[in-house]
Subunit: 215 residues, 2 copies
DNA sequence: CTACGAAACCGCAATCACTACAGTTTTGGA
DNA sequence: TCCAAAACTGTAGTGATTGCGGTTTCGTAG
């Protein structure tokens, strides 16, 4: 996939946004709006085609065509390739993960917080519109996508380990925390093919709590 | 990589071997010998080129050329592609893993057996000729290869879970055992970038033993 | 309002992994 | 000696991904 990744791509401009008087929450210029539209057109087209014919049966050329853009534009928006079209690059994950831990309730352990966090997310969530659920199941049943999704989670390993270290007052390079981070982030993939993902989630955390007391 | 995998490839013949009287350990016919030679020529050429120029800088065409075979022959032997040239398809892993657990000493727990097993292997082993060590380090420092190596281990998940179930007298589809299997098989990858892999190994098992008492 | 620089697009050509196919050579027996 | 299977070969795709040079569209400083 994207190995070298160092090409012309739509990223954050020099100093865009924030200029129309005080406080501008969603004040996007036409340019930004169009960029977002293109991006959405691409991922929408991709998802539709994927669900219709299956991930492997759709080519990037077809997706670009359906979104009425050039193939190069597709890659400019999603350097991660086909799989990124469905799963995004998700910088959001890392942030929400950290937020869940830092903003945990009084007397709630770090692991409890993570447990709750996952319980309301993706395969583990219960209240999801069919649209989203369909997507989640599609990802879980497509090897390449599943692997990519896992990667996205595991990519948060360092970050999560660091947050856990801070929140438990330990050194940020303590090995056990790194290991724990990996094990926690492995859960979504691990529980993907469990008959009852929810129960699987609870079971795993039960064991992790026993193995890493005080976290 | 190999997605469809259903092509002409050198595999086990109809009923080859075992015909020259009783017991024929290494009695390979000329054909088998040549096949093995081709295979070796390929992986040898690959490893040499990889170490010399780096994994990404070598093309399969160059490897085939260096081994004096056709590219199609390369893929016939290694459907797994470039990464398989270094790491093999390793059906061996699964077997040795099971053997380590089943053949563990009296009073030795399953986790102890696995701990010992890994301790003498790859990054964790201490007595290794430079050749092998160089290879191990090369794999660990090449993302694609590392990922592939991990896959090979994780592919043993079902199998290991089953063996552990048998050996501890539990149902083979008990979730905790599947999780534990995954966590154990994740170790080689996990410990790859630890400053002291050996210590990392010990640390991880310490926690796993606590989390999965009685295994 | 206008010109200018950057950002977002575009299309084309090229590389590279991987596969399908069809034809050859080699080998192990019947 | 002869045949079928196995192993190998070259050619010709398909498809993802990237490099490049050129075009259009914005945003904004003047």
């Amino acid at each position: 996939m994207a190995e070298t990744a160092a090409r012309k791509q739509p990223g954050a401009p020099k100093e865009a946004a924030a200029r129309k008087g005080p406080a501008a929450p969603k004040e996007l210029g036409r340019r930004e709006r169009k960029k977002a539209a293109t991006r959405k057109a691409l991922s929408d087209a991709a998802l539709e085609l994927f669900l219709e014919r299956g991930f492997e049966k759709v080519t990037v050329a077809q997706i670009a065509e359906a979104a009425d853009t050039a193939v190069t534009t597709l890659f400019a928006h999603f350097p991660g390739g086909k799989e990124a079209l469905v799963l995004g690059d998700d910088i959001e994950r890392e942030a929400s993960l950290a937020a869940a831990v830092r903003g945990r309730g009084e007397g709630e352990s770090v692991l409890d917080a993570l447990h709750r966090f996952f319980a309301g997310r993706g395969i583990f969530a219960e209240d999801l519109d069919n649209e989203f659920r369909k997507r989640v199941e599609f990802v879980a049943s497509t090897p390449k996508l599943r692997a990519y999704a896992r990667q996205l989670w595991v990519a948060c390993e360092e970050s999560l380990a660091k947050v856990m270290a801070e929140e438990t007052g330990r050194s940020e390079d303590e090995l056990p925390l790194k290991v724990l981070a990996r094990y926690v982030l492995e859960i979504p993939d691990l529980a993907s093919d469990a008959p009852d993902p929810r129960r699987a989630l609870d079971t795993v955390f039960e064991h992790l709590r026993r193995g890493w007391p005080g976290v």
